[in-house]
């Protein structure tokens, strides 16, 4: 029970004070779990994170789930992931409730007119970075470009595309796996 409480408080802290999303939280998680509490060893932590990273879903919550499960079993997993989620839900709920009142304020409207094009660029950047890290060349550029066009122009659901991509990549991997 004590360990569950510790897990909850640790991840509550991380969830409440890390700005900038999942990968910024990873640094905080490592500091708390590996360096301060010494729950998990350095090597094991990073090996496991590599696996967790490849799962679908919210990265930071998946990390919390893994650490919680590893330290405190099922109860620990629930405590840690609740802790990680709670601050964003509470903070965002407050904003949602009050933002609707100020949305039509002329100054607020001007601020957001400036912010919207900025957000577009903030989304464009990780897409390009992912292409670079996946070593996309002129030939394989067909995959990101094709995917983007199918969604943007032909309005095909990203869900279908990602399912299709998983199947294709899986078959490809099985085939070249057999050759080797």
């Amino acid at each position: 029970m004590k360990i569950c409480w510790q897990l909850f408080v640790t991840f509550l802290n991380i969830g409440a004070f890390t700005l900038g999303g999942g990968y910024a939280m990873l640094d905080m998680i490592e500091r708390a779990v590996v360096k301060r509490r010494r729950w998990i060893e350095h090597g094991e932590f990073w090996e496991s994170i590599a696996v967790v990273q490849s799962l679908p879903g919210v990265f930071a919550v998946n990390c919390a789930l893994y650490v919680g499960y590893r330290i405190g079993g099922t109860k620990g997993a629930i405590a840690a992931s609740l802790g990680a989620m709670l601050p964003s839900i509470v903070i965002m709920l407050f904003i949602a409730i009050f933002f609707t009142d100020y949305k039509d304020n002329p100054t607020v409207e001007k601020i957001f007119r400036g912010i919207r094009p900025c957000v577009v660029a903030l989304i464009l950047s990780p897409a390009l970075k992912m292409c670079i890290s996946a070593k996309v060349n002129w030939k394989t550029a067909i995959f990101p470009i094709g995917t983007a066009l199918l969604i943007w122009w032909f309005k095909i659901s990203p869900a279908y595309i990602i399912l299709f991509a998983i199947i294709v990549c899986l078959i490809h991997a099985i085939l070249i796996g057999n050759v080797e």
């Binding site: 998946n62 989620m85 709920l93 904003i95 900025c118 470009i145 995917t147 595309i161």
Partner: protein, 179 residues
């Protein structure tokens, strides 16, 4: 009915959300804006900006906000629970099976090859947001402030790794000054 719809949509996003927050944003955008019309593209951009400025994972922030818009406090709790449910279940299998097969060639290769598709997903999110509502001054005159904001932000974040929150703050000030 709306609660069930909200729950199912976020369950789907949680299950197929490979590749982190931004990839999920494109899925959220498609479901919430394009398919169900729960909010406009401008509102969506505002939510993304607000999520960037508040602590915690962007996808949960976004789910909470959209859930509240659609179904009040219950809606926001439903959406943010639904988005993490699939990984909760999946992780059990992973902890039992995948962790013991960390070097599994097939799993590793599949996930590596999925990356270009995920990048395309994120590109689509950005393309969909390049519309008249988010760039209202385009084509109206010779001072295209919104395009300049977009271009400058891109250069700052892509080449110089400037903190996104700082860029959002500057863009907000630019909005007051130029609009």
């Amino acid at each position: 009915m709306i609660y069930l719809q909200l729950f199912l949509v976020y369950l789907k996003i949680g299950l197929l959300g490979f590749g982190g927050g931004y990839a999920m944003l494109s899925m959220i955008q498609f479901e919430v804006v394009e398919k169900h019309g729960w909010m406009t593209l401008s509102e969506f951009a505002d939510v993304v900006a607000l999520s960037q400025m508040t602590p915690g994972p962007i996808s949960i922030n976004c789910a909470t906000y959209v859930g509240y818009q659609v179904g009040g406090i219950i809606g926001s709790l439903l959406a943010s629970t639904a988005i993490v449910m699939p990984s909760l279940v999946l992780l059990y299998f992973v902890l039992r099976y995948l962790f013991k097969n960390k070097d599994n060639f097939i799993v590793r290769t599949t996930l590596k090859n999925l990356k270009p598709f995920v990048a395309g997903l994120i590109f689509a999110a950005a393309l969909l947001m390049m519309n008249g509502a988010n760039f209202p001054d385009v084509g109206l005159g010779d001072n295209n402030v919104s395009i300049i904001i977009c271009a400058v932000t891109f250069v700052c974040v892509f080449f110089f790794k400037v903190n996104p929150m700082l860029l959002i703050a500057i863009a907000g000030i630019a909005g007051i000054v130029f609009f």
